[in-house]
Amino acid sequence: MTILEADDARDRLPGGAAVSLRDVTKTYDNGVAALGPLDLAVRTGEFVSLLGPSGCGKSTALRIIAGLNEPTTGSVQVAGRGVQNRSRHTIGFVFQEPTLMPWATVRANVQLPLDLAHIPHNESVARVNQALAQVGLTEFADVYPRELSGGMKMRVSLARALVTDPDILLMDEPFAALDEITRFKLNNDLLTLWRKLRKTVVFVTHSVFESVYLSQRVLIMTSRPGRIVRDIRIDAMEPRNEEFRTSPEYAAHCREVSASLAKASNAGTSG
């Protein structure tokens, strides 16, 4: 896999590796093996889902890509760079919870990454406006998070992740806590954004349906310690919309992914 050693310039071309993990393992201080060994390559512009039973370490994998957790062994490259020397705006992260500062308005929350990087005020205002427009929250800029619904809070979180114009968007079960109607709406909006912005997306979920609906590839993980056992390509109609959700094609993919997931979960339960 020489593509993984590609230099910076080539990585940014379509088809280059945006994220690559090799032989990554994570063992917690108490000796519990949480992850791996894990090999993972995500191409630039790709939408990939990590799907696995709860507690399989998929969130840990995402946090390792983000540099929030250190891998115990193995190497991590993001946009062709190691964790230490990458720019702080390579990655946008969306947590499972909206993770907003309750004391700050929507605008201030979205602006946070720019403030932390000392971006001049004029420039950051323009970028915040753009990010808010992308998630459809322009009118709610001066509102406090508590006044928003769960779905809107998640949109703020998404806008904050987009405001730095990152190459890679890491999403950790972002819609898991939302009701289905809101989740479907956000799924569609996320796909629209992805088609427009062509970010690389690594999306962690435990929903078979969500992973099939959103991704180009679904990576199936085993129970703890999580390993990737299958790489299922979802070659389906584009652009995906509510029509896709009710198509036989969608059902067939869901069946395949579901079966693999069941197999992977069983394979891991011995440990």
């Binding site: 540099g67 929030l68 992260f93 993770t99 004391w103 990087a117 406090y144 998070p145 508590r146 730095t164």
Partner: protein
């Protein structure tokens, strides 16, 4: 039933305590008059009030003295408590080294420390020091609690975006700890008044104090019971005003985002 939203309930919350107070005062007044109790046994509320008006110049001066001590002790406790908590959050070593002594200072009754402080410090400093000692710990412990209860994911986010320690402190930890800090300050306000009174009582025997507590002690020696009640009344009012003021400040600061302040709205 929630008092919120229903206007009769809202009124009752304020009217009932006032009615209870009026009834209590009326019964007190009646008992004193019916039994013709002498003022040195129990002065009637009307006599206490008359004394308050008559002695106002003296008592008001004393009130200002006590309040000044209280405010100085409170400010020292607020600044010292918050600053030390921030230092503790930065250096575990410092926390391990100093926290036990902060606790010892807290659990030792201030009334027992006051006479020693009066020996070693100039009187006005000793009095402020007493107020500081009692008020300091709640600020320290509440701020520490607040600084330690920051959302882990928000911390992760700050780390992801390369925030410096100073940025994390001012933009995340302190705002996030604010409800706890304000809670600590609200307790500290009342406690610094207690500390000031305790110190004045301890210093009073030295005969140089002029605060309200000293007036109470002095009036006690002279069997001037109405003045004792009048001074006590002023102290109570001062405590209530301090508490309400700090509650209001806390509400104004938090009203737009914190749960504790939201219940009072709408």
């Amino acid at each position: 039933m929630t008092a919120r939203g229903t206007s009769p309930g809202k009124y009752l919350k304020f009217v009932l305590p006032l009615l209870a107070l009026a009834a209590g005062v009326a019964v007190w007044e009646a008992l004193v008059r019916i039994n013709s109790l002498p003022v040195y046994v129990l002065p009637a509320p009307s006599v206490v009030f008359a004394t308050l008006v008559q002695d106002w110049p003296l008592l008001f001066g004393s009130l200002l003295t006590t309040l000044s001590t209280t405010v100085q002790g409170f400010v020292a406790a607020a600044v010292g408590g918050i600053a030390l908590a921030v230092l503790f959050s930065r250096s575990k070593w410092l926390e391990y080294a100093l926290l036990p002594y902060a606790i010892i200072l807290q659990v030792t009754p201030v009334i027992a420390i006051a006479p020693l402080l009066l020996i070693y410090l100039p009187q006005h400093v000793a009095v402020v020091a007493c107020a500081w000692i009692v008020a300091f710990f709640p600020v320290l412990s509440n701020t520490t609690l607040g600084l330690n209860s920051v959302d882990r994911n928000l911390l992760g986010l700050f780390e992801l975006y390369g925030a410096s320690r100073t940025q994390t402190l001012y933009r995340l930890k302190l705002p996030s700890a604010l409800p706890h800090i304000l809670g600590g300050l609200r307790i500290a306000g009342g406690l610094s008044l207690i500390g000031a009174v305790v110190a004045e009582i301890a210093a009073g025997s030295a005969g140089a104090g002029s605060g309200l507590a000293y007036r109470i002690a002095e009036a006690g020696y002279r069997l001037n019971i109405p003045r004792m009640f009048a001074a006590l009344l002023l102290l109570s009012i001062a405590g209530i005003v301090i508490y309400l003021g700090l509650s209001l400040a806390s509400y104004l600061v938090l009203r737009r985002w914190h749960e504790s302040a939201l219940g009072k709205e709408s």
